[in-house]
């Protein structure tokens, strides 16, 4: 990725993209649906990305990548086909094409960078917005819970699925490499704290990501051919998570969150830690 993008200062989606590109290497095509990334890449006639990028309609990324992957494979090309889509383009409007591409066993890597909002249109609620978070369409805090896209993808039984976070770029880098080494559909879900939408000062971007992991609100793991492995930053965090409030407090979007919502968020963390811990044990 070249310097001088139109991403907000402190944007961790750009940071992630840097490491995705690093991990992917040269023989790669990126498919990008409508999202912050369609803007971050630059305006015609210039782009900040130095691999081919195919821009596509919001709902269509996985299907487009399906066609592309099949066309490359048909002529014997191994080119990596990577979707780099936001949470809206994955969990909401894009879920149909994504689900279909996974069902058909498409040979591609689908990356969802999750800023828990529609960033590009100015921070509206998405299916990925957590309970209690304020967005411009949930000015009093979201009343529905975050959609569990990882469980949804897991239900499609892909050979590789991982979570990552922009605050741990090396971990992300390794996961991208691993995902691309595997044949068939792979999925990486990256939490990317967004200073503009989450309302925290841009210099806190990494810190917030770390707090997400340390509080257990975000857990880093991979599931390879169904086998779960908790990634090291989360190993410690899961044993002894910091108080969730430490993660929420610096973020304007959680200001005034109701005790009830807070409680549910905490419960979910406990449940998720338990579930993943058991799953990891259960199979090893």
């Amino acid at each position: 990725m070249l310097k001088g993008t139109s991403a907000c200062a402190g944007c961790s989606s750009s940071l992630s993209l840097r490491y995705v590109l690093k991990g992917a290497g040269p023989d790669t095509v990126l498919v990008i649906p409508a999202s912050c990334s369609s803007v971050i890449q630059g305006i015609y006639p210039n782009t900040a990305l130095n691999i081919p990028v195919y821009n596509i309609a919001f709902a269509a990324a996985a299907a487009c990548a399906s066609g592309m992957s099949n066309a490359f494979r048909a002529v014997g090309k191994k080119t990596n086909v990577i979707v780099y889509a936001g949470d809206g383009g994955t969990l909401d409007i894009g879920i149909q094409s994504m689900s279909g591409a996974f069902e058909r066993g498409t040979d591609f890597l689908y990356i969802c960078y999750d800023n828990e909002e529609y960033g590009n249109t100015g921070m509206q609620r998405s299916g990925s917005t957590p309970l209690g978070a304020r967005t411009t369409t949930t000015p009093a805090g979201k009343t529905d819970e975050k959609k569990d896209i990882d469980a949804i993808i897991t239900a499609h039984d892909p050979p590789y699925l991982a979570t990552a976070c922009s605050a741990y770029p090396q971990d992300l880098f390794k996961k991208v490499k691993k995902a691309l080494a595997i044949r068939g559909p792979a999925f990486i879900h990256i939490l990317v704290p967004c200073p503009s939408g989450w309302r925290f000062p841009p210099e806190k971007t990494i810190e917030i990501g770390r707090l997400a992991v340390k509080s257990g609100m975000w857990i880093l793991y991979e599931r390879e051919y169904g086998r779960l492995a908790i990634s090291s930053p989360s190993k410690a965090a899961m044993k002894n998570p910091i108080p969730l409030e430490n993660y929420l407090a610096p973020q304007g979007r959680f200001a005034g969150i109701s005790p009830k919502a807070l409680d549910i968020l905490k419960q979910r963390i406990t449940q998720k830690i338990q579930r993943l811990t058991e799953e990891e044990k259960g199979i090893c």
């Binding site: 990028v53 596509i56 996985a62």
Partner: protein, 370 residues
């Protein structure tokens, strides 16, 4: 080889001959036969394409776009609701300048559900930058599908082509079909802007107000250039395979006082009406419009024109009738007939011609105010 085939089968046969690299399609009545036949070919290894059984038409077109962007030949087929559902992506394919070929089996739009012939589905796509051709026989559906690949992929065009056939009437009608060995009739596709993994380019990025319109103009420029390409392709097809096609299919028009203009099978049925009228001494002719986009020059000067629209633009009128009015600076008698598979016989068409009132619109079967 002479066989008996449905319109759907004919399209599938042509696709087999054209050998797309990727086919992505979703079933819908009455197009299903195309998809099923192709799946059969692929599964038997008769056709070496990759067939992607997508989960919707939006995805079908998206997959064709992704494949086509790599420079691969692509094909899809749909109808009615499916065409509407992929509307965002048909626009995209044209804007991305990808020579996707699509068969559309014309069918009416819900609600109420109606699976029979109507052109409104394709008509609603007429602004998108797709070339559109309407066919009237099984043979023509076959021949035109072959030519569609040549035209779409021609360097002067590089726009998607939609081949239309009337639902059931043509898609399920079984007629003699002479298939060809297409040889090098369809040259290999060389997409100038194909994705090259070694060449970092961002396709279709944000384009500002002072640049965007230039690319729109280039679509129109290619549309205009496509007129020549279509003419050449049709001539070359005639040279190789002996069957002649024009922008329109004119029947006994030369000395006609009245000409009926229509799309699809109605235009073939009209020929029978013309014969009947001629035998009554009425000098009538039929002009079946094949290419609706680019809109052709129609030789209608000095005749009274009856246009049958199997489509409608509500609050406006029959689309074909009005496009002819606008382009030919004439007034016409506009008949709206055949919506949702409404039966229109050659006798009915003869009646339209006989009872024509230039400047008026009538809905077949409807008494206004009732």
């Amino acid at each position: 080889m002479l066989m008996v085939a449905t319109g759907n089968r004919a399209v599938a046969e042509a696709v087999r001959e054209a050998k797309p690299v990727v086919i992505a399609a979703y079933p819908i009545t009455p197009q299903t036969g195309i998809v099923e036949q192709i799946a059969e070919y692929v599964s038997h290894g008769v056709l070496l394409s990759r067939y992607i059984p997508v989960e919707s038409e939006h995805s079908a077109m998206a997959a064709c776009i992704g494949a086509s962007a790599t420079g691969a030949r692509t094909f899809t087929a749909t109808s009615s609701q499916g065409l509407l559902y992929m509307h965002e992506m048909t626009n995209w394919a044209a804007g991305a300048r990808l020579p996707v070929v699509m068969a559309n089996v014309n069918r009416a739009l819900g609600p109420g559900w109606n699976i029979w012939a109507e052109h409104t589905d394709a008509i609603q796509e007429r602004d998108t930058g797709w070339l559109q051709v309407y066919t009237g026989t099984v043979q023509e559906a076959y021949d035109t599908t072959l030519m569609a690949f040549c035209i779409a992929e021609h360097n002067d065009v590089l726009l998607p082509v939609m081949v239309n056939l009337d639902g059931f009437l043509l898609s399920h009608d079984m007629q003699p079909l002479e298939t060809v060995d297409c040889g090098d009739f369809i040259p290999p596709l060389h997409l100038p802007h194909a994705i090259d993994p070694q060449n970092p380019i961002a396709y279709g990025p944000l384009t500002g107000p002072d640049q965007y319109y230039k690319f729109r103009w280039d679509i129109e420029r290619s549309m205009r250039d496509s007129v020549n390409v279509i003419g050449q392709t049709q001539a070359e097809f005639a040279r190789r395979f002996g069957r002649k096609y024009g922008f329109t299919d004119d029947y006994r028009c030369d000395d006609a006082d009245a000409v009926v203009v229509s799309l699809g099978t109605l235009g073939k049925e009209a020929e029978v009406a013309i014969d009947a009228l001629r035998s009554e001494g009425i000098k009538a002719g039929s002009m079946r419009v094949r290419w609706l986009r680019p809109f052709p020059k129609l030789d209608l000067a000095g005749r009274e024109v009856v246009v049958i629209d199997r489509d409608y633009s509500f609050g406006f009128g029959g689309v074909l009738a009005h496009e002819i009015k606008a382009k030919n600076h004439i007034d016409v008698c506009s008949v709206i007939a055949g919506l949702g598979g409404q039966e229109v016989t050659y006798d009915d068409i003869a009646g339209f011609i006989k009872n024509r009132r230039i400047g008026e619109e009538s809905w077949f079967g409807v008494t206004p105010g009732v």
